[in-house]
Amino acid sequence: MTDAAQASLGATAPGEAPSTRRPRAPIGEFAFAAVCAALGVYAIVGAGFIRVPPGSASVLGPRVFPYAVGVLLVAASIAVIVQVARGRRGVPDDGEDIDPDAPTDWLTVGKLIVCFLSQLVLIELAGWPIAVAVLFAGAAWSLGAKRWWVALGVGLGLGLVTQLVFGVWLGLSLPAGPLLDWISIFHG
């Protein structure tokens, strides 16, 4: 582990080729490919449980295509695993806001997931505007916004505006929530 840390520190030194950026053992890459292969196995096994209606006229039943998809997934995943084992690593995506030398910040990713999960509870319990305010403020804070009250204010504003535009003006039935339900304008 210390070796890996050492190596990744050394790799960020200027002048080094980007291909040697992450010399750690690609556990994550193997794991992801393995999960994909497992999904393929699941597709194959699950296909066996699809009920074929007796006496159906169609030659190709509802199971055949799922079998094919499962086989494709398993075969492709194994091919990826072989490639990775031979040293052909995946190239992480580029992007305008991506720092290619930064290590993966799992904590921030976790925080964002939690913020997004809050939608599951809040949309129907507290209403759309509040759910957006919480998601927005939480996400902005996780991503490093300095002033949380600004984030909360912007989030609340965004929630109310989307409620008005989508819920009232465009007629989508977004729940206004118990706090706003008594204001007649928020009824779609």
Partner: protein, 522 residues
């Protein structure tokens, strides 16, 4: 001449004040969102889909066409002015455009990109106007086996050509196909992979797959390695009237036309969309450059912006040909557009020009109108787009997450979709992390059910004889072409990788000087 009359009728619809407003709204919001860094055309279209939920089909498609073209325009602004590469179809533009901007010629780069996009967009839309009805007429005669062949071609080219390796593209495709399987199977009414959950019985909407992969997946991925510190935007000086000098025009018009000629055909075949077209155009311009221009390549040659930008937009129009005439999406963006059609109960395909001709021609007419609007909107408003580029990143991505949540919830007003979105988003994050392309997954999600339907239809016709799949000359041609396309594509990708790996010829001193000056400005 038939299509000309129909087109004029389309214009009569699209020029109605309310539809003009819709078009203006579409191109405006499409550009604004497309300019945002990290948001490519596919994400723009996916995020803005809820806007069209309550419009009438014609209005919705007009807004959508505007968003589609606007997102394309916006992307080029980002890649020219931001100090880092942009979305895949604009990266080639960034190669030269970014350097032009650093050398103080940003205005010329933006202008040649915008005007080139207009020229290419208009020319390609013209080609679409005259090609599409003919292709639709031919396509009516295609049987299920032919369709299956076309879909297989689309699968394999999209799967094999995108991403860093062929197996990774196929894994992505397989995941999309698996998601496409979930739900109630149409022919026999059996539930597949639904775990008995009623929400899953209707299947997983492609919008969920697209928003999850592009909006949520991208945000999580950016969050995992966010670039901190000030946003570096290259300043653009001078008024927009003096943007392009006489020599800029002289050097631009040929690349525009060549870019269009390269982009449109590539857009129409399932070969990975705009990405391949822009690269080919760039390579062509680099080869054709003579004298001073040749020396400028790598340091900001205007041909290297004009050509690829034109190719990009021509390909965007080209993608609409198989989309409208065959109902085949060949890019992730096209897959989302198809699902928008489907949500109105419209099935794109050969019958579209007969059954919904009013709608289709209004859509095509609005593409012309949108292009003009974009030209007018983009040149003078660049100052505004630059401000959009400066949005602090935490707020930008928090906003993307909020709109992703809206897009998922507004589908069925059920938080189960939100949960599905999160799962797909996580998959999208991991796929980016490990170098899997996400576009094949979106295409697989929408084309998978179509492929199965056509396959089962063919098998029903042939009583289970697999040879039926290759009985028609069309299907055989398709499979042969597939082999050629894949071989050619893999070869092209190798070349592209070599281009990108080659060290650039920029005198780094000049760039460093620009970089140092910047923080004062922001």
């Amino acid at each position: 001449m038939d299509s000309l009359t129909a087109l004029l009728e389309g214009f009569a619809t699209a020029l109605q004040p309310q539809y003009l407003l819709y078009a203006l709204f579409g191109v405006f919001i499409g550009t604004a969102v497309g300019v945002l860094p990290g948001i490519g055309p596919a994400m723009t279209v996916a995020l803005l889909l809820p806007l069209t939920y309550s419009l009438d089909p014609t209005g919705a498609l007009i807004v959508f066409a505007g968003i589609y073209y606007g997102g394309m325009y916006g992307g080029s602004t980002t890649s020219i002015l931001l100090n880092t590469p942009g979305e895949s179809s604009s990266i080639v533009t960034a190669l030269e455009g970014n350097r032009m901007a650093k050398a103080g010629r940003g205005a010329a780069a933006l202008a040649t990109a915008a005007i080139g996009s207009f020229v290419a967009g208009t020319a390609a839309t013209l080609a679409l106007t005259f090609l599409a009805p003919g292709i639709a007429k031919l396509a009516v005669q295609l049987g299920p086996a032919d369709y299956f062949a076309l879909i297989v071609v689309a699968f394999l080219t999209v799967g094999a050509l995108l991403g860093s390796s062929v197996p990774r593209g196929l894994v992505s495709l397989g995941l999309g196909l698996l998601l496409g399987l979930v739900g109630t199977e149409v022919l026999s009414g059996q539930q597949r992979y639904t775990f008995g959950i009623p929400s899953l019985a209707d299947g997983i909407d492609v919008v969920i797959i697209a928003v999850g992969l592009f909006a949520l997946g991208e945000t999580l991925y950016v969050a995992s390695r966010l670039r901190h510190g000030p946003v570096r935007i290259i300043p653009v000086g001078g008024g927009w009237r003096t943007w392009m000098t006489r020599s800029d025009w002289a050097r631009s018009w040929r690349p525009w036309l060549r870019g269009t000629a390269i982009g449109f055909p590539i857009g129409t075949i399932p070969a990975g969309g705009a990405d391949v077209a822009t690269f080919l155009s760039y390579a062509a311009e680099r080869k054709l450059a003579r004298g001073g221009a040749k020396a400028e390549f790598g340091r900001g040659a205007i041909e290297g912006v004009a050509g690829p930008e034109a190719a990009n937009n021509a390909a965007a129009a080209g993608v609409l040909v198989p989309l409208l005439t065959l109902g085949l999406p060949t890019t992730a963006t096209a897959a989302i557009i198809i699902s928008a059609f489907q949500s109105y109960g419209i099935r794109p395909g050969p019958m579209l020009f007969e059954n919904q001709s009013g709608l289709v021609w209004a859509l095509i007419a609005s593409l012309y109108i949108g292009n003009v609007m974009l030209l007018v909107l983009n040149l003078p408003l660049v100052g505004m787009w630059v401000k959009v580029l400066r949005i602090p990143r935490p707020y930008l991505y928090a906003g993307i997450l909020s709109f992703a949540g809206l897009g998922a919830y507004a589908l069925h007003f059920n938080v189960f979709d939100t949960l599905t979105l999160l799962v797909v988003g996580l998959a999208g994050f991991l796929m980016r992390q490990y170098g899997y392309p996400v576009a094949p997954m979106v295409v697989g999600g929408i084309l998978g059910p179509m492929a199965e339907e056509q396959l089962r239809k063919s098998m029903a016709i042939s009583q289970g004889d697999l040879l039926y799949l290759v009985h028609s000359p069309f299907a055989i041609t398709a499979y042969v072409t597939l082999a050629v396309i894949v071989a050619l594509g893999v070869w092209l990708k190798r070349r592209k990788a070599r281009y990108e790996a080659a060290p650039t010829l920029v005198p780094t001193g000049a760039i460093a000087a620009v970089d140092e000056r910047e923080p004062e400005k922001s």
